[in-house]
Amino acid sequence: MDLAASIAGYMGFSPERIEDIRTAVSEATLNAIEHGNRLDPATEVRVVLLPEPDRLEISVQDQSIVPLPAAPQLHPAPTVESKLAAGSRTRGWGVFLMNSLVDEVDFRSTGHGNVVRMTIHLRRQVPPLERTHSWEESNADTA
């Protein structure tokens, strides 16, 4: 994460976007360790940073032998409400955060594991997500 942040800083990304990159790499790596490599300490996660003049590409590869489900980046976004539902697990935000914080996310399965490739353009391609309504707005009757 720190190396990705350092390279992004050297390339001229803003501090805000560097934090986004740091979090996205963290989430991709966490997914690779937990879901891809299933917490097996004998496995490795390979992170490749490829700085280009107009973008930074970051690939995170696990050693999973199980192919990814189709187009995980297109799965419905989780909501807090669904997570609060009785019996629902509260985890499962990693892909959503990656999609939210970087410009492009691509998943593919190879013969040697699954790879998530994130692309962050120096000129942002997608405007930052608008904030959702606030606690005050949601609780206007009770606040």
Partner: protein
């Protein structure tokens, strides 16, 4: 990996402040949930999670907070959050969490808001 989080509880009625230090990840779950349960046993109704001394948060850690929100909802408690960095405040926005926990810049702002409610 071991937990790098520590939680110090402080009753500042009507608030109970849980000051979290270190990293909020899945490894912080035990410390945070234990502190929350102990606060609940003391009758806490408004619980402020202070992130002023938190260096790192990931989605697994935020999921722990969502779990607390679920518990609080069932127990008629309110979860408040203070001290998030600008980046993590934005992450909370993106996830839609701001609709479920009230965010404050710092503990003092939270205290003043609670006092103003009477």
């Amino acid at each position: 990996m071991i937990s790098k989080a520590r939680v110090d509880a402080r009753d500042d009625l009507p608030l109970t402040v849980l000051e979290i230090s270190g990293e909020v990840t899945t490894f912080a779950e035990q410390a945070i949930v234990d502190a929350y349960e102990q606060a609940t046993e003391r009758g806490a109704k408004m619980i402020l999670l202070d992130f002023s001394n938190v260096s790192y948060v990931n989605s697994a850690g935020i999921s722990v907070i969502i779990g607390l929100v679920a518990q609080a909802r069932e127990r008629d408690q309110q979860i408040l959050v203070s001290g998030l960095s600008e980046h993590y405040t934005r992450v909370f926005h993106i996830m839609g969490l701001e609709s479920y926990v009230q965010l404050f810049d710092d503990k003092e702002q939270a205290r003043q808001s609670v006092r103003a409610r009477g």
